[in-house]
Structures are given as structure tokens and as C-alpha cells.
Amino acid sequence: MTPSDLQALLPHIVVAATAVAVMLVISFYRNQTVSAVLTVAGLFAAAACLPFVWSAEADAVPPLFRVDPFGCFHIGLLLTASVAVTVFSHSYLEKYRMERGEFYILLLLSVLGALVLTVADHFISFFLGLELLSVSLYVMVAYIFTKKRAVEAGVKYLFLAAATSAFLLFGMALIYAELGTMAFPEIAAELGGGDGLRSPYLLAGTVLVVAGAGFKLSVVPFHMWTPDIYQGAPAPVTAFLATVSKACVVVVLLRFLAAFDSDAVPGLYLALTVVACASMLTGNLLALLQDNIKRILAYSSIAHFGYLLVAFVAGGPAGAMAATFYLVTYFAATLVAFGVVAYLSPSDREADTVADYRGLFWSRPGPAALLSLALFSLVGLPLTGGFMGKFFLVGAGAEARLWTLLLVLAVSSAISIYYYLRVVVAMYSSIEDTPQTRELSEPFAATPPYGNTVGAVQALLALGLLVLGLYPQPVLAMIQSVTRTF
């Protein structure tokens, strides 16, 4: 470890140190707000290190990490999202009478895992990061242990994620056995010979690694866990699951797949195409059948990562650029949506059925407008970031002439409009329509009015969505500069 290596890993070190600090503070002084403030301060401090990391001369910390601008961009993105999740968690946990400080230690540890993944350049760091992320998440999902669903979701996640880790490890072992290396650049060099996946072991290993990543991204056929766990987990944790824990896997998968030339391994790209089509259609069709907004968002996230795979299949700088931009817009929209759910949830249950949102626009215009904006962005309507995201995604696909994928994308996102609009229709339907609405929206009376930190964070995220939709040039130029190496 040289000083410049330490400098390159500064954000990771700050986040790890914050986790230790929160733990120490809790053992002397228990106060949720103090823990949360400390967490946010640590995340900001880590983000403040980014300019030094970006300018660091040695951008790689071989052999485990590769701290390049692409990684730095995603570190910034993940830290921003984590700050939002922390703020949502604080107001959410305020409603529960239980030990709450430990939540932030877990949150920081899983953020650390995610940050490790964004700079992972080696199977060891890949696996370490993934485990660090997952193990903390098992507990976070089941954190409100007084709720049956939460415990059920936690156990489910534990079993499935552990099984996936086994797949992943086995796949890594197979690739190592065949190539004798676990570092991505060396794997790329070995595969660069042009004979592609020359042995069945190598093929099986690659498929297993991609399957392991596919589980985290919850693409079909590894999507079964998503709705139950999204529904059972506390809303802020769901927001974390839907954004941070997925984006870091996208990054590592982009790095890993960059080693595979689509001409050399057509089979792999065919498989990705099939997975993408299946995810888009399955996610959107199953979402039509849901009445629970968290399950709707779960299925929609399956579909959205199907869209994202279009950029993976397209590959090259355009594909990486489109995938990154799409992630940014998806982050903002998803965080706003789950933020509203977390904010509106009373202490005895989650405000997650579509009926809960009836007439919300007339009774609580603030949250309703934010949720509408988030949903419109997920649909991909203009003025919101989702429109631009979808535009660049389709652009990457059109450049690579993936007409089949694009047609499936068009058809499936037309289907998706229906279930997003169901929520919107509920929010804008007048309260007089149903006599029981007053009773249904009763719990919302208990929630504090906007104007607090949660409202400010959500307003900022919503503003970000609008800026991304109206003037994406600065963000786009930055993403283009960091994805040039693909």
C-alpha cells in the first residue's frame, strides 16, 4: 500500500471509519438522530474525497481494485442515494419504538460493500464486496422484526442470496481453473485470443457468474425473490435494494463483460438478449396484476433492468453511457417513489396498496405530485429524466441495430403505462368517488406535513429529475467522459 493507493481508496476508508464511529457513539449515547446525522456526515465526507480520488495519478490499486473515473462517478451516485436513504430511514424509524441506532451501522457497511463493487477489478474484491453488501442487507430487510412480513422477507433473501453466492463462487472457481487468473484485465487478455469461450468449463463459469449478478439485478429468470422482499422490507430498505444494491452490480458486470467481445462469444450475447426480452415482458406483464404499490415497483424494476440490458447487449462506449445515464434517472425516480411510500407509511403498516393513494392529489398535493413525477419518469415521459434515459437507451440499441430488442422494449413499455397510470389515476380520482376513502386516508393525517428534511431531499431529487429531463448536457458530458474507455 502506497500513499497514492490510500488516496485512491479514501471514500471507502471514510465510509468504513464512519461505521466504526457510529458503533462507538451508540455504545455511549443512544440517539437515533445523532446516529443518522453522523452517517450523513460520513457519507458527505466520503463524497468530498472524490475530487482527490479523481485526480489521483495512479487510478488503479492493482490487483484488486481499479479506481478509475467510471468507478468514481458511480461512487458519487451511490453516496448520494445513500444519503437519501439515510434521511428516509430516519423519519421512517422515528415511528417505531425500538433500538434504531444499529440500523445505520448496517447501512454504512452495505454502502461500503457497494463501493467496493464499483471499483472491483478482480474476483476476490467482487465477492468480498457482494458479501459485505448482502450480509448487512439480510438484517436490514428484517429490521422491523415485529412485522411478520419483514422477517419472512429477510429469511427469504438470506436463503436466495446465499445460494446465489454459491453459484457465483463456483463460477469464479471454474474460470480460475481454466484461465489461472481472477483479475478482470488478465481474463480479458486471455480471452482476447479470438477463440472465445473455448472450453465448456469457461462457458459454464461465465454463465454462473452472470447468473449470480442477474440475481442481484433481479432479471428473469432470477427475479422470483423481488416482489416478496420489496413488499416485506421497510420502504427505505426497499429503496436501497432497488437502487444501490443493483447499481453496483451493474458497474461490476459492465467491467466484467467488457472482456467479452460480442463477435467472439455470440452465445453469451444471445443469452443476454433472451434474458432482456424475458425481463421486459415478464416484469411489465406481472406488474399489471398487482394491487400493492411496492410489488408494482418491484415488477417494474425487473422490467427496467431488462431495458438496461439492452445497453449491455449494445456494448461499447454508447452502451455504457446509456446504461449509466439510465441508472442515474432510475435512481432519482425510484428514490422519490419509495421515499413517498416511506413518508406516508403509518407505524402499523406500510402505505402500499393502490387504494391508499386514492384522492391523494387533492388531500396531500405535495407527496402526490412527487410520486406522479417519479412514475412519469419511470414511464419515460418528456420533461423528466426517464425520457432522456429511455432515449439514450434506444439510441444505443438503434446504433447496434438491435431491432428485435427495441421492438420488445416498445411493446413492453406500452404495457407498463397501464400499471403506472393506475396509481396516478387513483391519486387524481376525486375523493367523493368512494365513501371509504376518508377512512382509508385517515392514517395519512398522522404524518407530519412536508417542510422537513425528507421533503427537502425529495424536492431536490425531483428537481434533479427535471434537470435531467430538460438540460441533461452537463451530466451527459460527464458520463461520456467517464465511459470513454469501454
Partner: protein, 514 residues
């Protein structure tokens, strides 16, 4: 710069109207009126420009250079006519909803003005990305207008409208991007500019695919025959101002798109596809007329007449000679005025009687003579009575298409018979016959008479003296024909000196440019 204001004023006005709702229930409509009237006046100032200069106004600034996207607006004669129609109907739609918006007037006018801004963008954008942006921008506010302020079955109609337009919009997006990358592969220049994308060499299969992507998107909006099913629901359930905007403006964006983009960008593919498109148009004319005749819901009946009328647009665009394209322009304007007026009348009846059922109507003439007389006037316009705007449009289209496709023209002409039947049917059912229960039926108010009177004057003007309109659009048509030559142009020994001149009576001859 004026073009930017034409988009900005409705946007700013919309936001102001929404915020003004907090402290006044009447302020939003005054703001909305100002935000539609001022752009109308601004757009009228462009009329002085010599259409021979081609671009009457331009505005250009960099937007997303990283992706080769410019914010490029420009209006030629055709664009200006459409923009004028937009704000003309915009003022009237504010007027017609003056005291009929029961709840949330600020949000209503916000949506209305957002649609007008989007429509203006569609008619003036010359960067294909910007065009698509505005194209999609029109959809959501319309969805809200139908979904919040519509009639009984509003949610179904609003969602159907939204899904149809979004799905076809995605095809348009794919086609635009496909064209963009085909052009980039050919020239190495990343651009979405219409002017530069014209004349891109495309592989035959790819070109046909991209052309169909554009065609389907515009055919859904138009709506052309197999894609028309959303229209009746949306028109029927929308509030009166919404129906007026839908029929008057949103449908025109489809026709505009066909004229501006489909044929010029893909001349060979369009020529190959023309027989199919003209057949679809002819089917739409007859089928729309038949469906209109079979309705018992007054607004649904009028909605299906739109399918019939817009079939003429489809026939005219793909006939693609000067007569037909000029006819398309006139037909779009005339249909916007006449069908808009019929929807205002139907909305007026519904406001008074709370029904749209034709079986519950009849013999209303004595109680509402003004309404009846005006309805007769607009029904006559709709059936294509000479002297009114629709006649000029349909006549020019048939004149043009006869030289290209006799069968389609004959079928389309039969649609005029159908139009006569359903137009008179409206009058017959509503105003003649046995007097029905008509409690609450009062004659038109002064506000309504003024609005309908303006529309009637417009139709009369267009029918008796269409020269200014034809003169305004003529340079555009000529320029479009230079890009995509009309059928048979290669055989003729040069263009006739002014094709439009043959289509209008001698005393209204368009002066030829020196």
C-alpha cells in the same frame, strides 16, 4: 425569437394559472386567455413575412451537443398556418370552458396551455429530437384533461388514449434514432436536424422499416383506419374544450407529420407504400362515415366523422401532387374549425340536458333556434357544401388523387355521400321531429354565439376566399416537392408554372412569384 415566445408564453401562463388558483378562482381563466391571445397576435405578425423567403422565423440554440441535439425552431408557411390554428383554437377553448370547469380551474388551464405549447413545438421543431420531445409533451396533459374533467367513462378513455399514443410514440422514437444512426454511418455527422437528414441513403429494408415507424405514429394520431379505435372514446369522454383541442389540433399533428416528415424523408418508400396508404385512407372515409351513422351518442357520432374526414388527409398526402397537398392543408384547417364547432354544440347540449343520447333528443329547433341554425351551418360545412372550407379541401384532394389513383379517389368521393347522410342525420335527430323532453334547454349564450360565430366566419372565409391560405402554404409545398418529387413529375416536361393556380377559380388565381 418569436417562435421561442410562442412556446414560452403558454408554458409560463400555465404555471401562473396553476399558482393563481390558490387565491382566486377566476384569475386562472384570465391568465389562460392572455396566454393564448398574446401568442396568437405574435404569430399574426409573422404573416407579413414573404413566404417566398421560406423561413418566416427561426430560432436556434445549442441544447444537448453531447448527443448532437439542437433546439431548432423554424416556421415556414405551413408551420405558421398550423401555429395560427393552434392559438386560434386555443383562445376559443379557453372561452368555451370559461365557466364550465367545476374544480381545479388552475390545473385545468395549466394542462390546456401545456398542450398548446407542445403542439406549437410540434409544428415548428426542425430538430427531430425536439419534435419528438414536443410530440410526447402533448400526451400527458391531454390525459389529465380527459381523466380528471371528462365524463362518466373517463378513466378508460384516458388510459386508452395514452397507451395508443405512447406505444406509437416509441415506434417513432426507434425510427428517428434509426434514421439518425443511418445518417451518422453514412456521413459521420451526428445530427437530428431535419434539413440534414433529408436525402439520407437507406438500405431498402431499413428504409421501409423506418418509414413505417414514422407512418404508424402519425397514423395513430390522425387517426387512420386500423388505428382509430382510441379516438371515439377519447373525444366522447373529454370535456368540451378537450374535444375541441383533440379534434382541432392533436389530429392535425398527425397530418402535419405525414406531410412534413414521412414523404420527404422517405420518398421512394412512400411511393411504394402509397397504394396501401391511399387504400387505408379510402377505407377510413367510408368506414368512419358508416360508424358515424350508426351511433346513438352525439359526441361519438361527431368523433367518427373525424375518422372519415381525416381519411381524406391520408389520401391526399400519399397522392402527393400540388393539388392534393394543398387540399390537405385546407382540409386540416377546415376540419379543425367545423368539427371543433360541432363538439362545442354537442358539449353545449350536454351541459344543458346532461345527456348525449340521440334517442333522448328531438324537436329542439323551436326552443333553441340559434343553436339549431348554427348546427345546420356546421353540419353543412361538414358535408362539404361549396362555399365552405371543407369543400375546398376535399375538392382539391380528390382533384389531386384522381390523377394518381382512380380507384381510391372514386371510393373517397363516395364518402361525400356518407358525409351528407350523417350530417343531415344529426340535424334530423336533434332539431327536427317529435319534440322530446327538453327541460333546461336554453338557447346559446352570447359567449357561445360569439365563439361559434367566429368559427363560422373562418369556415366561410376559407371556403369563399382560400387564396391567402394557399398562398401561404404554396412555397412549402413546392419545397417539399423538390425533396420528394410528386408522382409523374419525371414524365411531365417540367412543373406546371403554378399547379395551385389550376385548382382555384380564375378570379382567385394565386399570383405567380416573379
Amino acid at each position: 425569437m418569436i417562435l421561442l415566445w410562442l412556446i414560452a408564453i403558454p408554458l409560463i401562463g400555465g404555471i401562473l394559472a396553476w399558482t393563481a388558483e390558490r387565491w382566486s378562482t377566476t384569475a386562472p381563466r384570465w391568465i389562460a386567455l392572455a396566454a393564448t391571445a398574446v401568442p396568437l397576435v405574435l404569430a399574426l405578425t409573422l404573416w407579413d413575412g414573404d413566404p417566398g423567403d421560406f423561413w418566416l422565423a427561426e430560432f436556434e440554440t445549442s441544447w444537448i451537443p453531447a448527443a448532437g441535439i439542437d433546439f431548432y425552431l423554424a416556421a415556414d408557411g405551413l408551420g405558421l398556418l398550423m401555429v395560427l390554428l393552434t392559438f386560434f383554437l386555443g383562445v376559443l377553448s379557453v372561452g368555451i370552458s370559461w365557466n364550465t370547469v367545476p374544480s381545479r380551474p388552475g390545473f385545468f388551464y395549466f394542462n390546456l396551455l401545456l398542450i398548446l405549447a407542445g403542439t406549437t413545438g410540434v409544428f415548428t421543431a426542425l430538430d427531430l429530437f425536439l419534435f419528438f420531445f414536443c410530440w410526447e409533451l402533448m400526451v400527458l396533459p391531454m390525459y389529465f384533461i380527459i381523466g380528471i374533467w371528462g365524463h362518466e367513462n373517463r378513466n378508460y378513455a384516458a388510459i386508452k388514449f395514452f397507451i395508443f399514443t405512447q406505444a406509437s410514440g416509441l415506434l417513432l422514437l426507434i425510427a428517428i434514432l434509426g434514421l439518425h444512426y443511418a445518417h451518422a454511418a453514412e456521413t459521420g455527422v451526428q445530427t437530428f436536424r431535419y434539413g440534414e437528414l433529408l436525402g439520407t441513403e437507406l438500405a431498402p429494408g431499413l428504409g421501409m422499416g423506418l418509414m413505417l415507424g414514422f407512418f404508424v405514429a402519425f397514423a395513430v394520431k390522425l387517426p387512420a383506419f386500423p388505428f382509430h379505435t382510441w379516438l371515439a372514446d377519447a373525444h366522447t369522454e373529454a370535456p368540451t374544450a378537450g374535444s375541441l383541442i383533440l379534434a382541432g389540433l392533436l389530429l392535425k399533428t398527425g397530418g402535419y407529420g405525414l406531410v412534413r416528415f414521412v414523404v420527404p424523408l422517405f420518398p421512394e418508400e412512400s411511393a411504394a407504400f402509397a397504394p396501401v396508404a391511399m387504400a387505408l385512407g379510402a377505407i377510413g372515409i367510408l368506414y368512419g362515415a358508416k360508424l358515424a351513422f350508426a351511433q346513438t351518442d352525439l359526441k361519438r357520432l361527431i368523433a367518427y366523422t373525424s375518422v372519415s374526414h381525416m381519411g381524406f388527409v391520408l389520401v391526399g398526402v400519399f397522392a402527393w401532387n400540388a393539388w392534393a397537398v394543398q387540399g390537405v392543408v385546407v382540409q386540416m384547417i377546415a376540419h379543425g374549425l367545423s368539427t371543433g364547432a360541432l363538439f362545442i354544440l354537442a358539449g353545449g347540449i350536454q351541459d344543458r340536458l346532461h345527456t348525449r343520447d340521440l334517442n333522448a333528443m328531438g324537436g329542439f329547433w323551436p326552443q333553441a333556434p340559434c343553436m339549431a341554425a348554427l348546427a345546420l351551418f356546421f353540419a353543412m360545412a361538414s358535408l362539404g357544401l361549396p362555399g365552405l372550407g371543407n369543400f375546398v379541401g376535399e375538392f382539391l384532394i380528390l382533384l389531386g388523387s384522381f390523377q394518381v389513383n382512380v380507384v381510391a379517389t372514386v371510393l373517397a368521393a363516395l364518402g361525400l355521400v356518407g358525409a351528407t347522410v350523417y350530417s343531415l342525420w344529426i340535424i334530423q335527430r336533434v332539431f327536427h321531429g317529435e319534440p322530446r323532453e327538453s327541460k333546461g334547454l336554453t338557447d346559446l349564450s352570447l359567449r357561445e354565439i360569439t365563439i361559434l360565430g367566429v368559427l363560422a366566419a373562418g369556415l366561410l372565409g376559407l371556403g369563399l376566399y382560400p387564396k391567402p391560405v394557399l398562398h401561404m402554404s404554396e412555397p412549402t409545398v413546392r419545397a417539399l416537392h423538390e425533396t420528394a418529387p410528386p408522382p409523374g413529375a419525371a414524365l411531365a416536361t417540367g412543373q406546371p408554372e403554378n399547379p395551385v393556380a389550376h385548382a382555384v377559380p380564375p378570379n382567385e388565381r394565386v399570383p405567380t412569384d416573379p
